[in-house]
């Protein structure tokens, strides 16, 4: 029987190309947009190499210094992190590194622009980079201010073409570094791992950063488990509050605060613009979910509409089928099959389309070094929702119609 329903549905869908096209377009477009945007969000926020341990990592991304006449909002300075981040309870490792700064190199008269990060040695343990050759530099390299560097694939290509880079030297920002390792490119929207060139902090041109409380650095705390988060936060904030405000060299500051955050908390703070104390990831997810619902609402409603009018339009068909022996159940099953087939076709189109769009993004390099792929989880959820509405919007009118006496259906009575 199911085979009959499917055959029948395909015949009807083929005979009504306009309706079929509109439905497929609505379903396909909605699912494509959802899957694509979800994939982009996922790529930005979910744990994935090199940030494999993101879900048990806290970061100090932000500090505030406030007084009646001053207010500083920025990322933390080296001194703030160095004084507060070490030996926290429940912690496995910590790392401190600078933001990616723009640096220039000159190679045989050609200018190469790169992003450079200065990091400690632990950075390479907190993050799991994919090393194409060589190895990271170590804590000792940082302690001794050795002029060594890890570079990404792009930088290797720029400087050395397709040959190996380990052991060779590069010039960047007026300094020379010996390359110890080459890693795969990391997309720019992954703030923590992103850079083209990484070098030890102590190779910095001067020592000023060592006395600064604000600006230029990020600290990451890898907890043994998420259970340790509350204690880490409490202890860190306690240490921040003990800092002698006079030491800040910022007259008028009365409160200094910095709060370890998860990556999504930091992202929601940035996106929603909420103050550090109030940020909750739930807000961000609620916003995403709200946007998604809003976005799905319109096509869903129009889909339901199309379905209802299509079934009403086919009242006389229902009458005929009843007159020749179709039971209520059979009729409902037939219409539901049609809708399910439509939804699955739309879903297939959407999957291919979003895969194509993401591959296009990757290929065009819309975002440097990004490797997008469709998010299967979200796609499955969206498809399930579409199926639900497809079935629901088919069942309800079909059920109502199938309850009519055949004469009324034949006459084309509306509900």
């Amino acid at each position: 029987m199911l085979r009959n329903y499917i055959k029948m549905s395909l015949k009807v869908l083929r005979r009504r190309p306009f309706f079929t096209f509109i439905s497929l377009f609505a379903i396909g477009f909605t699912l494509t947009a959802l899957t694509t945007s979800a994939a982009l969000i996922d790529h930005t926020l979910a744990p994935m190499p090199p940030e494999t341990m993101l879900d048990r990592t806290l970061g100090i991304y932000h500090m505030t210094a406030k007084g009646e006449t001053v207010q500083v909002n920025s990322n933390p300075g080296y001194k703030l992190l160095d004084r507060c981040i070490h030996d926290l309870p429940g912690t496995e490792m910590v790392t401190v590194f600078s933001s990616a700064g723009s640096v220039n190199s000159y190679l045989a008269g050609r200018k190469i622009e790169s992003h450079m990060k200065r990091t400690d040695g632990a950075y390479w343990k907190v993050m799991h980079f994919d090393f194409l050759e060589g190895h990271p530099y170590t804590e000792d390299d940082d302690r001794n201010a050795n002029f060594v560097a890890v570079i990404n694939e792009r930088t290797r290509r720029e400087f050395f073409g397709n040959t190996n880079a380990v052991g060779k030297t590069i010039e960047a920002d007026g300094q020379r570094f010996r390359v110890t390792g080459v890693v795969a490119d990391v997309p720019i929207y992954r703030n923590n791992p992103f850079a083209d060139i990484w070098v030890p902090i102590r190779t910095a041109k001067n020592d000023h950063y060592r006395s600064e409380y604000s600006g230029g650095f990020t600290g990451l705390i890898l907890a043994r488990s998420r259970a340790a988060f509350p204690e880490i936060r409490r202890e860190f904030q306690a240490r921040v509050s003990q800092i002698d405000l006079a030491d800040l060299e910022l007259p008028g500051v009365q409160v200094l605060s910095a709060r370890p955050e998860t990556y999504t908390e930091a992202a929601s703070r940035e996106i929603l613009g909420t103050p550090v104390e109030k940020t909750r990831t739930a807000y961000l997810y609620a916003c995403f979910a709200g946007l998604m619902v809003l976005f799905m609402l319109l096509p869903t409603i129009s889909l339901i509409n199309i379905n209802v009018s299509r079934i009403l339009e086919r009242a006389s068909e229902i009458g005929v089928r009843k007159a020749f022996g179709a039971s209520k159940f059979t009729l409902v099953a037939q219409f539901v099959t049609e809708n399910v087939i439509l939804t699955l076709l739309g879903g297939t189109i959407a999957f291919i389309a979003s895969w194509g769009i993401l591959a296009g993004f990757t290929w065009l390099g819309v975002v440097p070094y990004a490797q997008f792929s469709p998010n299967l989880r979200i796609f499955a959820v969206a498809l399930a929702i579409a199926l639900f509405f497809g079935v629901f919007s088919g069942v309800y009118p079909a059920w109502k119609m199938s309850r009519l006496h055949p004469v009324d259906a034949l006459r084309g009575t509306t509900l």
């Binding site: 015949k11 009807v12 009504r16 006389s316 005929v320 020749f324 022996g325 179709a326 059979t330 004469v407």
Partner: protein, 221 residues
Amino acid sequence: MISLKEVEKVYRTEEIETLALSGINLEIDEGEFVSVMGPSGSGKSTLLNVIGLLDEPSKGSVLLAGETIQGLPDRDQARIRNQQVGFIFQTFHLISDLNVIDNVEIPLLYRHLASFERRSLALRALERVGLASRVRHFPSQLSGGQQQRVAIARAIVGQPRVLLADEPTGNLDSQMGEEIMKILMGLNEDEKTTIVMVTHDARLAEKTERIVRLFDGRQVN
């Protein structure tokens, strides 16, 4: 074969009550060819619909092939419509999304038949009405007479014991009407199919064994 006792049908709309059928007692034997006549609005279609389970009587009882119809669950009603009755409508009621052979196969879809069996039964029914060469056409590509012949093929494909025809020739010219009548009479003779036909055409009615006359929902003789 068909037995109606004190059948009444009332249509209620917001204000008016229409008595479409009242006090109908009718016995039709197996293999009879009966025509139903009467002025417009006298209840002919209503009578046919009640017999064919397309509508429910407000009062009285209807027996079809020995089964009382009232109060049967949907599934059993569907089964009786499928196996006992074939309907032919004045306005054909073919499904425009389906081609000729798919239309004819509809009654067989609700039986458990393999698709090749359905195909060959449908082809045989189409041969019977002289349309075997048009199986891939869609209804809109056929003339009125051809459409009605497709509808007849659909009504007879499942070999029902009873054929109910509501002005089968009403929308056709008289020559086409004669042809349809010939097909129906052939079925009645060869297959012993019981036929109840509503018609306005006295010449066609005279060819049948018995004429039931209705006036204002009542039988008159």
